[in-house]
Symmetry: C3
Subunit: 261 residues, 3 copies
């Protein structure tokens, strides 16, 4: 019986257990929200959570539970929603996301979501890591050997940034070309495909449609399949809300059509 | 003397009472923010709150206090702002929003704002409901008899979704056509006009302009008057900020003109 | 040794001190996040914070530490992120932002970010002010003598609002022309250039691109230099995330080119 089935069952059987924040009672909010709390406000929402989300969405093929956890965690950080972080950080670790990968996800999203989003995630993750005995040796190095740079592709990217951003802000150009693309993106603690997956997730989750084209193409170049992209949208309908997904659809469609032709 | 006048007066007379979170001292933040707290940081903001908001905006004709509460609660959930939820959930119940309606608003916005937004609202609402002795019998059923479906209109909607979303994500199509429009939208616990009102509120409050046209038309088809739509924008200028309202104005104008011609 | 250097050093020397929320242990979250907490989750993020942010970004010419604090505080309020407010409200006061100015920033952003954003900031600022012994005499008056109105420019602005917003919502027109531009914007507690700076910051930080053109022009009319605008974008890449800045770049470029020709 996998973790999700067990969780869904435990919700059904014992509604008063802290099902939404199982392993961490020291999150940002005063106390974890339990499935019993949800039922006390909306029995229908509790049912949708059990049946549509945990019992159906998370079990769909096309995106593994591990990838769904990566996407959910990234959406929560990008949208700065600590209330579900304790539950989903723990679920991610149970689903095969390593502590090193979760650490890298938080670091990466400091740049794509904003510094305070990462600090909010730190406030939750430190307790999750402590409760699981995750120490420094299970976290990525500060300055690891970087992945090899694709010089040709990066030169094109840098030329585009210089042309578009250069006339307005050389500071943005400088940090983009050095710190972001020659440092953060080359950190080996998270596979390039996963790094792109959380970047696209962050963009869709915050309605930042202007950058989806570049990063969805980059994600698919790095191995994200068309079926996975389709399921990413399906998954985010629930975690980022329907409107953000509907706004991303025309761009995803355009990317898909151009890659086929 | 209605509730708002009483509240405004009590703020004037006793600035140290917890005027912004009157009935709930166990909200997400450590302690409720009082009008005295606001004065300790910005006497001007306290004055604007008393005079422009409570003393003027909430008393304008065109939108009833009950509808203003529906809109305010939806804006706070859509923008994930727990700090004012205890005060406004209580005010909504005082203004005639039923506990069943508040429950449905939270459930509905899980789909339009994202799941974690609804869970944040649950964390506040459970305490508000408990303090008022609101139990399961005052909440909507899990699976009530659905409202009748407008088959013709829904077939058009479904065809549009299939055409636009279908090529990119059959998962999104499936959940949209079954779970969202043939289940959530047909729940009888919230009038279709109110369901559309909170959907439009959510879209405007988060700057999600792309979906306003469809949902504002749907709201007006369901009975939202032009004067109410005008006051919705006025009300949201304060609760979602001026820029979100200014971004919605051209779309609202376009909808209005097309409905007249 | 200036405050930032001292802070960066203290982070290096004593990672367990509450470096990110130095002076306020009663913020919204249960406990302040320390640099040691960041290291326990991501040693790399701690390093980027020390080296790229505190050791480099904040020391760049083009925008003074005082202006960087104004911008950072405005971004945190606009994005409703209390977790870093205790640290940055204190840093702002150390960097020369007066308590009266911080009070006005919160008041102003109630209108541009939404009322609950300002109340969230109040919840943090009241403790920061109390810890520093900042009382009513150091805060702006409720109804000070307003700054003189530029009648010609404001008549143009009002005509544009009447033309665009008038057909949809006379309520929005009324509050915009009286409360917003003939009251809030004329409060003398914050220089017009700073008021525009936080307005532009709020718009960029929330991806509200539609209003940037008007307010960036207004900021530059009020004295914001082109170099400062360039550094504003650089600074916000870290505090609002890269995508929001990249979305603002084409508009900033357009404004810049039109002002030159």
């Amino acid at each position: 019986m996998n973790k999700l089935t067990a969780t869904a069952l435990s919700m059904t059987l014992a509604a008063s257990t802290p099902a939404l924040a199982e392993d961490d009672r020291k999150g940002l909010a005063s106390a974890p929200i339990t499935m019993g709390d949800v039922q006390a406000v909306s029995p229908a929402l509790a049912k949708y959570t059990q049946d549509a989300l945990l019992g159906d969405l998370w079990k769909r093929p096309g995106l593994s539970p591990r990838d769904r956890s990566v996407v959910t965690v990234a959406a929560l950080i990008a949208r700065n929603q600590p209330i579900e972080m304790p539950y989903h950080f723990n679920l991610a670790l149970d689903n095969g996301v390593t502590s090193a990968e979760l650490s890298e996800i938080i670091t990466h999203l400091a740049f794509y979501s904003g510094w305070a989003n990462a600090i909010t995630a730190v406030a939750v993750a430190k307790d999750v890591f402590a409760a699981r005995g995750i120490g420094a040796e299970q976290l990525p190095e500060v300055s690891p050997t970087p992945l090899p740079l694709n010089e040709v592709a990066d030169a094109q990217r840098a030329a585009s940034v210089e042309q578009n951003v250069g006339p307005v802000s050389q500071g943005v150009v400088q940090y983009t070309n050095t710190l972001l693309f020659k440092d953060v993106w080359l950190r080996p603690g998270l596979a390039p495909r996963d790094r792109s997956l959380i970047t696209v997730t962050s963009l869709i989750s915050c309605g930042q449609v202007a950058q989806i084209t570049y990063h969805l193409n980059r994600a698919m170049d790095a191995g994200l399949t068309r079926e996975q992209a389709s399921e990413l949208l399906t998954h985010l309908a629930f975690y980022a809300g329907w409107p953000n997904v509907f706004s991303a659809v025309p761009i995803a469609r355009d990317v898909s059509e151009k890659r086929e032709s």
